[in-house]
């Protein structure tokens, strides 16, 4: 493929975008000093990591999943229990929080992904609920619904003191950038193109030599791993959480983050995660209206702009600009 092809240009634009995003994160990291705003930013980055995975699965793989919140919980408990029960280094906990949920995703994906859209949605919803039932019942591993896990030691991988809010901001920022890099490279890899072909039709994709089952299973496992990694970061940052944090509502929230941004690009998931996580902090008494307004938002987006809100706005602006030029 020549360097000037549109795909290659898009890839380079994405890499430039990453550099710009890294600069913004550094500036924000130094500019924002308060503990509360920084906490919100950390949560936004954690959500972004999980949302990038879901965006790949939903936007590129065309597969719906309503168990990403449960998988995030899996990562959180694995990460916490590696440190708490096994006494291992938190870095190992974080790695396991990525690999084990990915393995779990790989195992369940093969049977699940044979189902068509609405059955897959139901099945992943059921799976997410089963996970949260186990989180409340397996008290020896999870602490249950109350008190859950508390007093997890601060994040000190290889003995480095990274437990403070400030340090966790940089940890999450670096990991978010790495996840973005993986996502962008994935989209522009052979598998990304296979998935794109798959989304527009499974049979033609298969006819072109795409191993449809393998591609779908792989993307499900990758999305699960990213959710788990987000969960691991969540556990190490909050150091106290319980099973109520990983219910189906979280899965829906992650889905809304992807939809508010764009289903076609990891940047959509990132912007959606920042918007949905940080915006409510500015709205007074929002908690009461949260479910209702997010539901309305999601319904409107799906009825009028199924590619995502930011995507639709972006396309609209571009179309206007083009019209003005001619």
């Amino acid at each position: 493929m020549s360097a000037a092809s549109p795909l290659m240009r898009e890839y380079h634009a994405n890499l430039k975008g990453m550099v710009a995003f890294a600069v913004v994160l550094v500036l924000v990291g130094f500019a924002v000093t308060g503990s509360y705003p920084k906490t919100m930013l950390i949560f936004a980055m954690i959500h972004a990591i999980a949302a990038i995975g879901l965006g790949l699965l939903f936007g590129h793989g065309g597969q719906i999943s309503l168990c990403q919140g449960g998988l995030l919980g899996l990562g959180a408990y694995i990460s916490a229990d590696f440190v708490r029960l096994l006494g291992l280094d938190p870095s190992l906990g974080l790695i396991a929080a990525t690999l084990l949920p990915a393995g779990f995703g790989w195992l369940v994906a093969r049977p699940l992904l044979q189902l068509s859209s609405h059955y897959l949605a139901m099945a992943t919803l059921a799976l997410g609920l089963i996970l949260s039932i186990f989180y409340t019942q397996w008290v020896w591993l999870t602490g249950g619904a109350d008190p859950g896990i508390s007093n997890l030691p601060p994040f000190t991988p290889f003995g480095l003191q990274l437990g403070s809010t400030n340090a966790m901001f940089w940890v999450c920022a670096v990991i978010l950038l790495l996840v973005l890099l993986v996502a962008i490279n994935l989209i522009h890899s052979r598998m990304g193109r296979a998935l794109r072909a798959l989304r527009s039709g499974e049979v033609p994709a298969a006819a072109l030599g795409v191993d449809t089952v393998r591609s779908k299973v792989a993307i499900f496992a990758i999305a699960a791993g990213m959710s788990g990694l987000a969960g691991g970061l969540y556990a190490n940052f909050t150091r106290a959480f319980n099973a109520s944090g990983f219910e189906v509502g979280l899965s829906i929230d992650l889905l809304i983050m992807v939809l508010v941004g764009s289903v076609r690009s990891p940047w959509g998931a990132v912007s959606g995660a920042f918007l949905i996580t940080i915006l409510p902090a500015f709205l007074e008494d929002f908690d009461r209206y949260r479910l209702f307004s997010y539901g309305i938002l999601m319904t409107i987006i799906m009825v009028f702009m199924p590619d995502g809100l930011a995507s639709a706005v972006f396309d609209g602006v571009r179309a206007l600009a083009r019209r003005r030029r001619t």
């Binding site: 949605a121 139901m122 099945a123 609920l129 039932i133 019942q137 479910l291």
Partner: protein, 291 residues
Amino acid sequence: MNQFLQILASGGVLGAVYAITALGFLIVYNATKVINFAHGDFVMMGGLITAALSSAYGVPPLAAALVAVAVVAGLGVSLDRLAIQRARRKEHLTLVMITIGAASVFRGLMEIVVGRDIYFMDPFPGPVRITLGGVQIPGQGLWVLAALVLVAAGLWFVFRRTLLGKAMRAAAGNGRAAQLYGIDPQLMSAISYAMSGGLGALAGAVIVPLASGYYQTGLYFGLKGFAAAILGGLGNPFGAVIGGVLIGLMESLAAGYISSGYKDSIALGVLLAVLLLRPSGLFGSSEAVRV
């Protein structure tokens, strides 16, 4: 032995509620081929509105239930008119996502209008409990069973004996052809959502005196109702009733003999097992569920 029969009796009552819920799923699925993820919230709203009206405003239970059924049927129609119909030419996944968004809307609506309180209410009029061969059945359980019989007979009559029912079946079978005969498929879709909303609300209203009304319960009603529908073979009303009763019995047995903490996972496990192993259910035609 007595305890076993007692568990069966309460499982049967629960199963009747799941059966009515499953029938509601079925009506919309048969008419539009959409699985309505907000259906469980129809059940939740039916129960919550009935309980809130009755306990907070002193409305007689039956009148409260009627109001709830009417309100939820109206909400069902608005879901169809405002969202589903506007997106009816989009891909299937989009329609599924719309109903997931709608579920959140209904939950949020109840959170705002009714609040986050848990509502309890007195049973419907009638005997408090009857004893049958040493097994006690709450009077409300009779209302639940009566509701199932009424709904099943009513649906059979509507779909087999009336012009409206025949029109709905025709529109579901082949929309284009039905349209040529003067049947308006959009009207049929709206009617199916109204019926489904009304049935869901009825299921919620008859069970709420034995349980409680709370804005977060829709998810479980939805999944169990769907588990019942798919166990019976999605699309088959007879199967849906059997499926509902089976799910209710299994759940009751699990709560009685295993652990009440895991009782909800029974229906979920059945749902996954049926989807993965035998997607046509117990009585379904060999419909191609898999891709």
